[in-house]
Symmetry: C2
Subunit: 168 residues, 2 copies
Amino acid sequence: MRPRVAPSPDLSSSLSACIARRGLKSTRQRQAILGAFLASSGHVTVVDLLARARAADPGVSPATVYRTLRLLAECGLAKPQRFHGSPTMYEIVAGREHHDHLVCTRCGRVVEFEDARIERLQTAVARARGFTVTSHRMELYGLCRLCRPARPGRKAGSAGRRSRAKRR
Amino acid sequence: MRPRVAPSPDLSSSLSACIARRGLKSTRQRQAILGAFLASSGHVTVVDLLARARAADPGVSPATVYRTLRLLAECGLAKPQRFHGSPTMYEIVAGREHHDHLVCTRCGRVVEFEDARIERLQTAVARARGFTVTSHRMELYGLCRLCRPARPGRKAGSAGRRSRAKRR
DNA sequence: CCGGATTTTGAGACGCACTCTCAACTACGC
DNA sequence: GCGTAGTTGAGAGTGCGTCTCAAAATCCGG
Ligand SMILES: [Zn+2]
Ligand SMILES: [Zn+2]
Ligand SMILES: [Zn+2]
Ligand SMILES: [Zn+2]
């Protein structure tokens, strides 16, 4: 029922809408951050986003990135995801359907999935315990194809190395 | 279906074992903390645990609770659970089987459950995406039986209820 | 039971990821 | 342009947890 909207100008207008509706103002910084966010694919950290936004407009401070991200979340454009062991990541939410995550504990790659059977079972289980579920979180941690140890003949390093250096 | 071992001396000996094995020492504080932890049921925060441990022995500092909890985790006796919106909670792990959690967003109650069908589907989904799962986290958030609004014909609780009632 | 090596402890400094405060600075309608 | 309300950056503050370090406790061999 949701029209699928390719990540495009549309979304930024939807921010303007939300901004207008609340009597807020459109600023250089917000544009830069929104631009960087929409241009990103997948899941971004505040640090990532700050860097990208600064590429477009050096005058962007971390505080503003935090604030704008919160605004985007309130407008239903972004959604924070807190994966184990890394700072909060944000993903584009507009027009996408619910999904859960597979997270590679080695390279940090995040893969999304959705499984209606699991979702149904979750609801059923909850109901059986007297709960009315309003949201859930499900993350599967493990090794992705490329990080899986010692498969002969496989080269894991070439294309796949997503940045994601995590300290701990 | 599991032989229910009442939280008993067994576990504390298993700590001594782990302590001995690593050349560590048994101290008053560790006893107090372990005692408080084992006597607790369900999921405890550091603050909770500190209070309980101090009841038994006033000379226990927060730092030591953190340290001991980490030790317990390394010994496989405790497991940290980070639920959305509350500080890390620890639960007794020894001899129990894996489970996931239902969390009431209003009163904070935590209910455990385990569903083999879901677990199987998780593994299957992961494999289909090329992942080897080593662990997962699944939490269902919502309202428990007692917190569910007694619907006088009108649907009261939308998604947003944020109130944080600490359970005691 | 003692002495000394070694571990542990408490207090407070520190770190990280955020949020808040506030004075200076826009954006924007008139 | 003006005025005003919203916005920004810098830095202080907060929550939660870890680290540092000197003093204290544990343990072990004698
Ligand atoms: Zn990987
Ligand atoms: Zn996602
Ligand atoms: Zn409840
Ligand atoms: Zn549990």
